[in-house]
């Protein structure tokens, strides 16, 4: 198996993994168009020789990535795992992934690009679809951010990095959740996570998406907190401090502080002032994705079925995104 691919150059390096640009070897003479692949080499030696001597075995984020990507091979908006193989020579597990050189973070930062409303809708629709597929398979991504939304040469957006993903367990009459709240990159972290909730659900992903969409519109992160406390404060300042009446049981959350400054919740006019150029339906979508109370926040299906998605204009063709990328 390891003979099928060649590693050409190093693209990046993490604690346990090195990502290479690679190619599938020409085994079949007829296969002329050989595309590039990304090879994520997960080193087992590195895990064994960690300084602290605390050998955990195969890294849990590698296990998650393998576990979930294996089940997600059929969707256009999720990065494709072509193959997994073990390499005895380098004592490593190798994930053969789609090679996707562009991501939404880079695209947003490229200020020369101007998105029209059709381009925006194309991007929004694709990320909603990808996340919808995860959620219907009971998977919470837990680290959605622009840098994890990759873009292919065909203009398709692909959700990547499943190192923090997990299955949502809603089964069993005796089941009780105990999830870690130490997930999601800060700026995209939902209020329930910041408040220390341990039985959050799919809605944390919806929150992240809401902020990603706003970032797409204003081209800078909307809520760039300096630390977790600042992040929560910033959220409340911009979107209002939740009270029991908007969010039952919010006071019971571990990090809820009764001395919080009660910022008012922005009304529709206020939202409208902030986002002048978008349609009413689009505004509804954003407001509903950023509902403070997870119970009130829309789920991914409601987002996909929203009026904004149905109304004109239609999303632009993915080839348009390719054109913008190369501008």
């Amino acid at each position: 198996m390891s003979d099928l691919y060649v590693k050409e150059k190093k693209l990046g390096e993490g604690t346990f993994a090195i990502v290479y640009l690679g190619k599938r070897k020409e085994t079949d003479k007829q296969a002329k168009s050989v595309g590039y692949v990304a090879i994520k080499e997960i080193k087992l030696d590195l895990m064994k020789q960690s300084d602290s001597g605390d050998n955990m075995g195969i890294d849990i984020s590698a296990i998650r990535e393998i576990k979930y990507l294996q089940e997600l091979k059929t969707h256009d908006n999720i990065i494709k795992l072509h193959d997994v193989y073990s390499d005895i020579k380098t004592n490593s597990i190798n994930l053969i992934l789609e090679y996707l050189p562009m991501d939404l973070d880079k695209l947003i930062k490229k200020k020369t690009i101007i998105f029209n409303s059709m381009d925006i809708k194309l991007i929004v629709l694709q990320i909603l679809r990808g996340v919808n597929h995860l959620h219907r398979l009971s998977i919470i991504h837990r680290d959605l951010k622009p840098a994890n939304l990759l873009i292919g040469e065909n203009g398709l957006i692909k959700i990547a990095d499943f190192g923090l993903a997990r299955t949502y367990d809603d089964g069993g009459i005796n089941s009780h959740s105990n999830l870690t709240n130490n997930v999601v990159t800060r700026w995209y972290k939902s209020p329930e996570l910041l408040l220390g909730s341990k039985n959050y659900d799919f809605k944390i992903d919806v929150w992240s998406l809401g902020l990603i969409i706003i970032e797409l519109l204003i081209r800078v992160p909307y809520l760039p907190g300096k630390d977790d406390i600042d992040q929560l404060n910033l959220i409340f300042k911009v979107l209002g401090t939740p009270a029991e009446k908007d969010w039952p049981q919010v006071k019971a959350l571990p990090h809820y502080n009764t001395n919080l400054y009660m910022y008012p919740k922005p009304n529709r006019q206020e939202w409208r002032k902030r986002f002048i150029a978008i349609s009413d339906n689009f505004l509804d979508l954003l407001m509903s994705m950023l509902e403070m109370c997870p119970g009130e926040r829309w789920n991914i299906v409601t987002c996909l079925e929203s009026e904004y998605i149905k109304e004109f204009p239609r999303p632009s063709d993915p080839s348009e995104l390719v054109r913008l990328m190369h501008e």
Binding site: G57, I60, K67, Q70, S86, R136, R166, I173, T180
Partner: protein
């Protein structure tokens, strides 16, 4: 519950559905899972794989014994002893014996998990990982007792039940290095597919649906008892081969029927038929006939699943230790020589002494 369609066609249909606006059912999701594509078998194909493994392993060890005869240690062997070794090694471990011993150790996995108070998903995943490993690996190459904790540890990680290797090793009183040693090999043998669609979710689904279909006709407390008992049966069903042959809802429904046939049949009747299943087909409308057809199909699957859940591969004590002893001989032929010589001696003493060094199957 349309999972009796032929697998090939079903997978294709499901594939296309994922790209359209059509509703994706739980069944579509299951048909697209690695549990279905990589870990579901027909009885014939699974048996074939197991027999082939047993044959290949036997041939490999027969060659190994030839090279053992070349070793210095083997010089002391007389012809009779050589013949005895050859005979022993020619037996190998049959596919059936391997299944027996693996089932026995899968049960040990279950016992350890229960002792560690692990959640049902982790218990079930550990058991499945263990069984799957030995579909493609021989018990001679890695003795099952050396895989128990590796399996549980990987299952914990895979099911997000986080526990550090240090803590885990201390809890089970094992060497950490030994636990981690085979983790990679296990992951590879699992074909890098770790997701399991367990039986507990469908159980909960049925629990809720039975309540809504039989509203006012059933005592909730009683249903709770049925639920708990069925759950126990379901965990035990992971010892069987049912998981390879049937979809999770089928296995779950079968367990529920085994727990309270009358209740569950009533539920299914109301859910799918709305008329007495004994009604002669002449007096049924066209749509009723279709429902009846589906119902009969379901009952057929349930009845064959019942047989598979009930089929136990657990060996009795005697068989277990005989197989276990043979595994040890394969790993260390000199152990066989020792026993053979000892037996010859005692045989001349006429006293029929049982094997002095009975390998205790812990």
């Amino acid at each position: 519950m349309s999972s009796t369609k032929t697998s090939d066609k079903a997978a294709k249909t499901a594939d296309n559905i994922l790209f359209t606006n059509q509703r994706v059912t739980d069944d579509d999701i299951y048909r697209n899972s690695t549990q279905f594509s990589a870990w579901s078998f027909t009885k014939e194909s699974l048996n074939e794989i197991r027999v082939e493994l047993a044959n290949k392993t036997r041939l490999r060890y027969q060659q190994k014994i030839e090279s053992y005869f070349m070793e210095e240690e083997a010089e002391t062997l007389n012809d009779e002893e050589k013949e005895a070794i050859k005979l022993e090694f020619s037996l190998g471990i049959s596919a059936e014996e391997q299944l027996q011993i693996v089932t026995l150790y899968t049960q040990k996995v279950q016992v350890f998990c229960t002792k560690l108070k692990l959640p049902s998903e982790v218990v079930a995943t550990s058991m499945l990982f263990f069984k799957k490993f030995y579909i493609t690996n021989s018990v001679i190459d890695l003795h099952p007792k050396n895989l128990i904790f590796t399996c549980i540890f990987l299952a914990c990680k895979s099911e997000n039940h986080f526990i550090s290797a240090e803590t885990f090793a201390a809890k089970v009183k094992q060497d950490k290095q030994k636990i981690l040693e085979n983790e990679f090999r296990l992951l590879e043998s699992l074909k890098f597919s770790l997701m399991n669609h367990h039986l507990f979710k469908p159980l909960h689904g049925f629990y809720l649906d039975i309540q809504s279909v039989l509203q006012g006709k059933i005592d909730k407390n009683y249903l709770g008892t049925v639920y708990e008992k069925s759950k126990k049966m379901l965990i035990n069903s992971y010892l069987s081969d049912a998981f390879y042959y049937y979809s999770p809802p089928h296995i779950t429904l079968t367990a529920l029927i085994m727990e309270d046939e009358q209740l569950i049949l009533k539920y299914l009747e109301l859910k799918f038929l709305g008329f007495d299943p004994e009604t002669s087909s002449d007096s049924l409308t066209e749509s009723q006939k279709i429902s009846k057809n589906m119902y009969d199909k379901l009952m057929k699957t349930v009845s064959s699943c019942k047989t598979d859940i009930k089929t136990s591969f657990l060996p009795d004590r005697d068989t277990a230790w005989k197989i276990d002893a043979r595994i040890h001989y394969f790993i260390d032929p000199s152990a066989f020589v020792k026993r053979f010589r000892a037996q010859k001696e005692t045989a001349s003493d006429i006293t029929e002494e049982p094997d002095q060094k009975k390998q205790k199957v812990e």
